[in-house]
Symmetry: D2
Subunit: 351 residues, 4 copies
């Protein structure tokens, strides 16, 4: 059994990986670490877990937090995991971090990102950069298998990169023409109550925010540029709508040469032919975010606006699954030599 510690266990990211691990045939949760509600069983915070995970939340310095494990999930804000990981790695423990700390493999790329989010641009463990992998399995399966530390992708970034990777790789779209119009459900903002996520202020509300630049833009540009082998810059719009789970990203790019929808579909299907969690559809498929809710799937609807020679891809994920805990578990599976679908091959429930 793979022994697991979860840091930041009582947030949505921690609860999400807990739910998954409880049904994983090869893993067991050893300890749950938090900063608040210390001593409370996780099932007190999340009553649905009663009888499934009644382990107490432990403070970081609790002796029980030091029980040997094989992997730690850091479901923590930026610049927590980057410092804490070192000690774990030194013990041979693998690390999967949800924040931006290990999403970039050079100090320069990290500094770019950190500057954008208003944080100290100097990485606390620069020597680890280069040994880490960007945790989007569909693009970095082999690096993840070998890495000791993985930076789990941002939720928006995951939906955009998966939706554009095949086109970027083939240099099928103009590098400065890409627009990512992203809509997220409210759970993307986490468990903490906030004015904009208060039910009465949200139930009938759609709004755009952070127009000046959302932090996930860095990963998207970084990954797409790497795929294309040239600089790609995107216009990135983030919007919140009153659903709980789900990201729908509508992605646009001018084609470098005319292509039909069928040709484009062939490119996408080929690209993802070995990726069990990506499903590729044409432009008339009757699908939406509800069809990936609670699952690790990314459903892509590929279309070409022939009048204007423009690619348009609609990317659907569950922000808490493929956009967070699901990708994290997929990464864990790869890091421990398991099939990447272990504990994840589930269709969700409907409606």
């Amino acid at each position: 059994m793979i022994r697991v510690k979860i840091v930041g266990a009582a947030g949505y990211g921690g609860a999400g990986i807990t739910e998954l691990l409880l049904q994983h045939p090869e893993a067991e949760i050893v300890s749950l670490i938090e900063r608040e509600d210390i001593g409370a069983p996780l099932s007190k915070i999340y009553p649905h877990l009663q009888g499934f995970c009644d382990m107490p939340l432990l403070a970081e310095d609790d002796p029980r937090a030091a029980e040997p494990v094989d992997v730690v999930f850091y479901s923590t804000p930026d610049q927590v995991g980057m410092s804490a990981a070192r000690a774990e790695l030194a013990k041979g423990v693998k690390v999967i971090d949800y924040s931006g700390d290990f999403r970039f493999t050079t100090a320069e790329a990290y500094a770019d990102y950190a500057t954008r989010i208003g944080k100290n641009p100097v990485h606390a463990s620069p020597d680890l950069l280069g040994t880490n992998a960007y945790g989007l399995a569909e693009l970095h399966r082999e690096e993840i298998r070998k890495a000791s530390v993985v930076g789990n992708p941002g939720c928006f970034a995951c939906s955009c990169i998966l939706g554009l990777a095949p086109a970027a790789k083939g240099a099928l779209v103009e590098p400065y023409s890409i627009i990512c119009d992203c809509k997220t459900g409210v759970s993307g903002g986490g468990k903490k109550a906030a004015a904009g996520f208060h039910f009465p202020a949200r139930y009938e509300q759609m709004n755009a925010y952070k127009l000046a630049g959302h932090q996930h833009v860095c990963e998207v540009e970084h990954e797409l540029s790497a795929l294309a082998g040239r600089d790609i810059k995107i216009t990135f719009t983030t919007q919140v709508v009153p659903v709980c789970r789900g990201i729908l990203s509508t992605l646009y790019g001018n084609l470098t040469a005319p292509m039909t929808e069928d040709e484009m579909l062939a490119v996408y299907r080929e690209f993802y032919k070995d990726s069990p969690f990506v499903r590729v559809y044409g432009s008339t498929a009757p699908i939406g975010t509800l069809h990936v809710r609670g699952t690790n799937y990314c459903n892509l609807m590929v279309s070409v606006d022939a009048r204007l020679n423009r690619l348009r891809v609609v990317s659907h994920i569950d922000n808490l699954m493929k956009g967070q805990a699901g990708s994290a578990l997929q990464n864990m599976n790869l890091m421990f030599g398991l099939p990447e679908t272990t504990g994840l091959a589930r269709p969700g429930i409907y409606p």
Copy 2:
């Protein structure tokens, strides 16, 4: 492996049992029967099942519908299963019916019910009555184990009976004082679009309906009377609120003798001590329907209004799980000698 046929496979009840069977270690789906969309793979109707259940919907008279199975689920309206079951039973196939057809064990009780719902009061297979069991495992575990045909409970009825059974059994409440104030999510109305469930007409709407008498009242009175050993009649109010899954039933009854909340809690805990899907809480537990969504649990919050010597129980279920497909699978497990939790021991996802 238990071989399964599902009749009415494309409704919510069919999709629900399909989702569960796909993850059941001892069962496999053999055929899906429907009246519409014949030939379409189930995953065309329910895209989340793509790759999980791409079997075609078959007409009743399709030769493939006759493949041998061990059990049939009838997720069909009243008075379908009561006729069709006979042929299956004759072949030694077990039957689980979602409608009212097999919820009563005498022709008289059935006639009462059928009259109330405006149907022919004569049961089509009266000889089968008495060999059937009412499919609420917590009350009829042994009968279900032995039965060849089980009538799955109504969703409202399930929530009310579980919430009142311990008190009824002990004759702790006055028999004509019971009020069941039930609120259901919209999925209880099924897959078919209807004016009252149209999103714009529903998203901000609460309403009571069928005040003259909902059909589930018969089962509730029948089961509670049997437990109490005397006639029980209830006032039963059904209401719809804008959630998808969930029933919250608030149940009231005048105590026959003063009891404290702690005493009442002890009665409930004792009653359900061998029922893995019932969780009993006191009156201040911070729980709601979201904590049972997607699961087979019934969470009961027990309180006593000491000023008025009145029992008040708040019963929480997922109407499509414990209120439908979950109970159906629990019954299948019992009928085939499996632990009743097989394929059902899951906490759901949150939020």
Copy 3:
């Protein structure tokens, strides 16, 4: 023109009365008082008011807060208005208070209430008690017309009292048999973000709370007892469902003598024949809370469970209108000799 000051202007109660006063032909807003966001225009907090109410929020001690007015609305928590009202009243200003401070006309009744909510039971201005009126126009129209200070009813209380008053007055129900099963939308909890009202925790959640006793029970029992001329005690259950605006209260009571639904309807219609904001319906009317949203109406569905000789009334209001700002304006109209419908005779919008 009636000159108005609003204290607590930036909460939902303040915004609600502002929206109404902006369209009132005989009133004008003179000043808006708040404790936070001082100096900000109200339309910064509520962008829908841009161009309609760009007045700044003033601190209590701002000189502009002392501009002469004819009436003050206190949209403030308990025990604010009871102290502040005196100075206003001394200047001949009328007072309408949203809290429990002036809902009772004796020091004893207030003490009962204050004890229940865990506050100092000694009223700060006991000499004012007796000069005040309980602000439910349908029951206290004449007292309100003469009063200088009015205690606006609680939202749950308003729905329950209106739903039971005709039966209570006629002593048609047993005094200890009454049960109020109340469901509220989330806006009843106010503007402040809270864990239980966070969109992801609420969108698919129904739950009961404060089973030990909600503070509004005092007003309900007080008013019903006064109507009946004998002591009435109720079981009172409060529940939250994922709508924004709306209370649906289902009210039960054992009839003292058998009555038909038609007889009961006649009693209700007679009782409310001069109350323009109460509409009475029979038990099959296809109505719900969406049909009173944004309006000052209370729609009552009256039914009798003939089998059990029990009255059942479903009461529908908008908690922010008839349950708060609408009643407050109706009270202002009465206090200033205007028709009570002035500025309130609107149907709302649908859907």
Copy 4:
């Protein structure tokens, strides 16, 4: 008083104009025409109108449908008003049509549109084309004042044209670079229940549809091309999210020359300086669709992605108001020489 007939009175478009006219100081409703529910009072279909509009729905050929009026609103599907209008116009009655029938002023432009929606491309009253006006007051105020027949804009089109008109007029964006990413609430689909708008299938669902081309694209291209004085083609994406009322359209175009956000804001503010229902905001304004719900406002958030020299405008309307009945009433006001804000100057309610 302006005497009004409404054809298609029981749909959302009919109910919307009814709600507005009931509060309009210069208009009165004379007759309500429908194809279903003939004889029923409108308030039976819409209980919130009880006491406000209890007039019966009349069949087209009912004698009472011929009572003289000054204006007819056709809240009807395509190709109804184009035939029926002639007789009304002959009597000197003005016509406002909600469909595409009178949105184009040449037979060619109409044929283009009709072809796209799969209808007969030959207009039934080609002689009327040229006498009509496109009913977007902000662009065609003077034509509307003089027109006898007005084609009310499509809801998506209204949001996009208002969001892009200032940039198009100044030729500030490349003509083939424009992308309109539109999200609508469900009420845009009308009153009729449909599988995709069934509450359980919609409450947690976002999806794109009609990627091959939504019919509103014609008006948008037609109007923008006219403003720019050159051919403009757009990529147009329509998406549905689980809100009831609201369209949020995010509009992109490559700048023909670099501009700052402040410069662009100045262009927009100048363009709309005489348009009372358009409010212009910078890119950090905390606004969303909830702030225009129930109102005739279009709120525009203007931003420039300086890195990529790209305009991005977020346009917010209520699809049933500015996108339908509100614009219709604004047009009526103009056609009858009233201030365009008459009966429309309202902030809506929040939350």
